[in-house]
Every structure is written in C-alpha cells, then in structure tokens.
C-alpha cells in the first residue's frame, strides 16, 4: 500500500512523517504547480471550485509517482467538499486509475465506517504505537504552522526580505528528502535557527493584516498566489485565520464542543449571521471582527470562484466593514487569476491602510 494525500499547505510535512512512523510507504504529493492545476482543470467539471481541481491534479501526479491509496477527510457541512471524495473517485476510475480512496468522515457520520477506515491505516499496530505516532504527527503540524507564522513575522521586519524566502524555499525542498518525524523536527529546528539570524529592523512597526476566507485557499500558498510572501515583501505582518492546527483543535480534539477560538468566532459573527451557511462562511465573518478587536489594520478575504459559503460571507462583510470602520478586501481566485491584477490590489490595499494610519501624508 503506497499512500498519498492531497496537498494542503504544510500538512503534507506532518502527514508524511505520521504515516511513515506507522510503517507505511508514503508518496508525498508534489508541491502544487501550474502542471498540477492544468491536470486538475482538464479532468474536473468546469464549474467546480478551484480546490477540487487542485486535488484532482494532486492525485494524478501522485498516482504517476506510484501511489495506489489516497487518504482524504470528509465533511458533512453544506459545502461541496462533502462530495469531493465520491466525485473524485468516479473521475479517477473513469480515467482508468485503479486506486483506493479512504475517506475519514466526520464522527457524526457514523462511527463504524470511520473505525474500519482507520483500521486500514493503523497497520495493526498496538494502541501505544498509534498514540505515539499520532502525538508526533500532531506536534509536527503545530511546529510547521508555527514555523510558517514565524517566517511571516520575520519577513515583515526583515531588512532583506528575500533572505527569508531563500531559507523557507530550502526548507520546503529539504522536507522531501527527510524520513520520519525525528528528522523532520530536526529540520524545523534548524530552519527556525536560521530565521533567527535574519537581520531585522527593530524600529519598524509593520501594519497587520489578517487573511480570512475559504480554508483551502487560505492555507495552500500556490492557490492564493503566495499572498503571505507578497504581503511580507510589502512589509506587512500577516496572520491566517485558519491553520491545520486550528482545524484539528476544533473538529477533532474538542469534539463535539468545538475549540474556544472557533466558538468565540461564532459568537462574534452572531449579530450578522446566526446560522451555518456551509463551509467556513460564519467563521469568516467572526474572524473579521476578531481581527478588528485584536487591533489589526485590515483583513483580506480570499475565496475560490463560485464558493457559495464565502459569497454569502462576502455580502455580509460589506456591512461589517461599514459598522466597524475596518478595511476589508475580497480577492477571488481561480485558474484564470492573473498575477498582475492581484498584486495591484494588494499594493493598493496596503497603501490604503498606510494612509488611514497616517504613515503617508499624500494621496
């Protein structure tokens, strides 16, 4: 059994190490690239959202590298993600790929199926071994998320911002060659060390921008055209409203109560949106208010074209923007997104915030 799973920001780093600890052979999906998107677009229904297309591209690239089993999580919220696994299974079968798709559905969808799927993965290991691997995997997810956030912070202050990019690029390349959790943690430690030596401007006060919106587009850098880097180069301190860590805390560790942070966001969103609208629509609104309260200077909402929950949120965010007097910009991404227009919007947004803060006195 050669396992693969879709790209999802840094999750592959932890996912790979976790499955390797369980004794599986893992084919980590290649980093998302234009080729991934081309393959995905070709084999997906046109009106499907961008994440779906990227995932299909991921699978096919991994299958060509030898994978025969795909791991994916499920969902039961009113968002198309819940149907991904079924539709993608059909697409892959139609294309003649003989692969096994293992779906981890939400516990609410029934325990027995989840248990049998889990059994396929845990490889007959003892409970102790599983707990150990799981703990390592979760640690890794947290560490990778922290590392990304650290790089974002350092980049905002760095005198030469390219230095941070070079360190991070090297880290991403090296993640492919290390094996198991221990080596991975060692690599993360080394990278953190390197980031600490980047020269920074201590007197600089960066503007702070939160990234909110659809979870996949926030987390996967290829899909959001590396918004964290682009903003970092403009001297902006970026924070993402959702990370794989926060997702796990909400949906797994604190099931069925939900994590503190997410519940607070529901509460914040309540005056505007009382109910679930699918996906992370409600969280998006809550996050916008959360960042305002946290003293951020603005937020950017990212959504894949025709993502219904985020469209609902987008319409409501206009009111939030007005009520709180808080800059909110929406960016829509799909396979047609042009980079030039994207950069223009980011630059203008940063200019706008700077002017509101009085950092620049003309214009």
């Amino acid at each position: 059994m050669k396992i693969t799973f879709p790209q999802f920001g840094n999750v592959y780093i932890a996912g790979k190490a976790f499955l390797e600890e369980l004794g599986h052979e893992v084919i980590a999906p290649p980093v998302c690239s234009r080729k991934t998107l081309e393959i995905g677009t070709k084999h997906s229904p046109e009106m499907m959202c961008l994440p779906f297309k990227i995932l299909v591209g991921n699978y096919i690239e991994s299958i060509e590298k030898g994978a025969d089993t795909i791991l994916i999580t499920g969902s039961c919220g009113p968002c198309r993600f819940g149907f991904y696994s079924l539709l993608q299974d059909n697409i892959l079968k139609d294309l003649g790929y003989d692969v096994d798709i293992i779906v981890f559905d939400h516990i609410g969808e029934g325990y027995s199926k989840l248990k049998s799927n889990l059994n396929k993965i845990i490889n007959m290991k003892s409970m102790k071994e599983i707990t150990r691997s799981a703990k390592l995997g979760l640690d890794l997810i947290k560490r990778t998320d922290n590392l990304t956030q650290l790089s974002n912070e350092v980049r905002a202050y760095a005198i030469n911002k390219k230095e941070v990019d070079i360190i991070m690029d090297k880290y991403y390349i090296d993640t492919g060659s290390v094996h198991g959790a221990k080596e991975m943690i060692e690599l993360i430690n080394q990278t953190e060390e390197k980031l600490k030596f980047v020269k920074i401007d201590r007197n600089y006060t960066p503007i702070k921008v939160g990234i909110i919106g659809e979870i996949y587009t926030i987390i996967e850098p290829f899909v959001n055209l590396e918004i964290e880097r682009k903003l970092g180069h403009l001297g902006v301190l970026v924070e993402k409203s959702m990370t794989p860590t926060s997702w796990l805390e909400h949906h797994v560790f604190n099931y069925p109560f939900g994590s503190k942070e997410e519940n607070m966001k529901y509460k914040l969103a309540k005056p505007y949106l009382k109910t679930l609208v699918g996906g992370h629509g409600r969280e998006t609104i809550g996050s916008a208010i959360y960042y305002k309260n946290k003293g951020f200077d603005g937020v950017i909402q990212i959504l894949p074209l025709n993502c219904m929950p985020e469209i609902v949120a987008k319409s409501i965010l206009k009111t939030v923007e007005k009520d709180l007097d808080f800059p909110i910009m929406t960016l829509v991404v799909d396979e047609m997104t042009g980079e030039a227009g994207y950069v223009t919007r980011l630059e203008a947004f940063v200019d706008l915030i700077n002017k509101r803060k009085g950092n620049i006195n003309i214009g």
Binding site: V31, D165, M336, G363
Partner: protein, 311 residues
C-alpha cells in the same frame, strides 16, 4: 515625468514644479509597450527638447517594465496614482470612478484620504476593451460612440451583466431592427448599471464625483452615470492621463526626498531593446522568464517564482 503603461493606452506626461501639464502623449499600447515608451519619449524630446527631468513615476499594469527601461523613482499602483491626480484636480473629491482598458475601479475618499476602493473582480464587462470591441462590431468609430449615444431618445435595454451576454443581447436587438443610436445608448446604460452593481456595490457614492480613465471620453457613459446617480459627474480636462499625472507627482516627491532621480535620460529611445522569453524547466512551475536586453546587455530578468533568475 509620469508614465502610465496600461493594457490599451500608454500615456507619457510631463508636469512642471507647479503641477502644470507641459507635455502629454496618449498612445495606443497595441501590445508593444516597449516600442510605445520609446516612441513617446522620442516625441517628448522632439516637442519640448531635452528638458531637465527631475523625477519619474510609473504606474499601470506595465509599471515594472517601464521602470526597467526608463528608470523610475516611484513605481506605484493605479489606485494610489489616480487618487493623487484626482485630488490635484479637485481637493474635495469624495468619489473617483475610473474606467480603463481592462479594469474598472471605484475609489472612495474622505477628507483627502483613500478610505475604500474596489476593482472589478472576475469580469471585464464595462471596460474600455469591451466598448472598443462593440464599437467595432457596430461599425462605429470609438470616438463617435459617445456622441451617437447622446442623440438617442429611446434607448433599448441591454443585459449588461456579462460581456458575452451583453454582446449576444446587443446582436439580438440589432437584428430586431433597432437603430444604432438607441442600441449604443442602451449599451452605455447597461455598462453603468453593471459597474454600479458590481464595482460600486455597497459603496457610498458622494459628491464631488470625478470620472477619469480612457472611457471618460465617452459622453454617453458620462450621461448614463449622471442619470443613474442623479448627480453631476466631473470629468477633468486630462481625464485620459490622470494615472500618469498622479505617478509624476509621486515621482517628483520621491526624487525631492532622495535628492536624485533614477531616470536614464531621454536618449533611451535611440537604444535597442529586445525581449527574450523562455520557459524555465527548473521545476514543474514552468515559469515564463523574460529577459530584457539593452543592446547586448541584460537589463533585467523576471517572471520566476523562486528568485533563480530575478535578483
């Protein structure tokens, strides 16, 4: 000097130290921005001589390219440039409607500060290129387009939600036998509705409203805006080069601050620039790398994601 290298037009202007426009050149980019920059600068030198150019600002989607060739002190996005220029035209301005070749924007200002802006997201209906194309289809010169619209007494209603549907609806109205003026006016109104519903959605549009960008030449669109907003819409004299004027003002300020300019001199039009595109096979991103040569010397390389080519 200000340069605005847009998708449809390349504008080069000169302002003096009192913000008076000394030179203005509006060229059609026609997909050849480098040639147009050279042509514009050549004309600039011919008409005003080799003036002392103290600062340069570049804007528009081709601003990075312009920077490489001309050497700019400021490379600024269009939103800020347009806002700066509009404030120069009318310091009290509270709304800027800007419709260019490929994108349309709305900029909201309060007390001389940009407080909000929006750009068209995924659709280019209602921009200059679309109007260009429809004028061509109707066999009308784009410069007469607006005047024709004003002659209409009974505009037809055209579905303007999307460029493709607008076009098929327009053809349908043509085939029904509506006269040209009515169709043109209908088109103008449809575009304005589309703009206000898309770009201008949820924005508080307050007087004074300044309308700029190439499309502001179109009297039909201006009239349609006034009808829809029930307010006067101001079109500055140099509506078509406002971005360049804003960039020039920013470039001058920056050059004053730093005490020198990066400008490479007006003689640059005599040099030969070549662009060489190639695909990098270093990874699966297959970035398209552009190399810009001045003679045999590489001026710049860009287009990569990883920093292998660009400095």
């Amino acid at each position: 000097m200000g340069l605005d290298i847009g998708s449809v037009s390349t504008n080069i202007i000169l302002i003096d130290d009192k913000d008076n426009l000394v030179f203005k050149k509006y060229l059609r980019t026609q997909g050849k921005p480098i040639d147009m920059i050279k042509e514009g600068i050549k004309e600039l030198e011919e008409s005003v001589g080799e003036k002392n150019i103290c600062g340069v600002g570049a804007t528009g989607s081709g601003r990075y390219l312009a920077n490489i060739i001309v050497g700019a002190d400021v490379v600024k996005n269009e939103i800020t440039s347009h806002a700066v220029a509009a404030l120069g035209f009318n310091p009290k301005v509270r709304t800027i409607i800007e419709i260019g070749g490929q994108d349309s924007k709305i900029i909201i200002l309060r007390d001389g500060i940009v407080t909000d802006f929006a750009m068209n997201t995924v659709c280019a209906a209602g921009t200059g290129s679309f109007l260009d194309r429809q004028a061509l289809r109707l066999g009308v010169n784009i410069s007469e387009f607006g005047d024709l619209a004003l002659n209409s007494k009974n505009p037809v209603r055209i579905a303007g939600r999307c460029a493709v549907f607008a076009e098929s609806d327009m053809i349908h109205k043509q085939q029904l036998g509506h006269n040209q003026e009515d169709i043109i006016k209908g088109l103008c109104e449809a575009l304005v509705r589309n703009y206000l519903n898309n770009v201008g959605k949820g924005k508080e549009i307050l007087f004074p409203i300044v309308f700029q960008g190439g499309v502001a030449a179109n009297k039909g669109i201006k009239a349609a805006f006034e009808k829809e907003l029930k307010q006067q819409v101001l079109v500055p004299e140099n509506y078509d080069v406002m971005g360049a004027i804003g960039a020039a003002a920013l470039g001058r300020k920056k050059a004053e601050e730093q005490g020198y300019t990066n400008f490479r001199g007006t003689k640059l039009y005599e040099k030969d620039y070549k662009v060489n595109g190639k695909e990098c096979n270093g990874c699966s991103n297959l970035c398209e790398i552009l190399e810009i040569f001045e003679g045999n010397e590489v001026l710049a390389r860009y287009g990569d994601k990883c920093g292998k080519w660009s400095p």
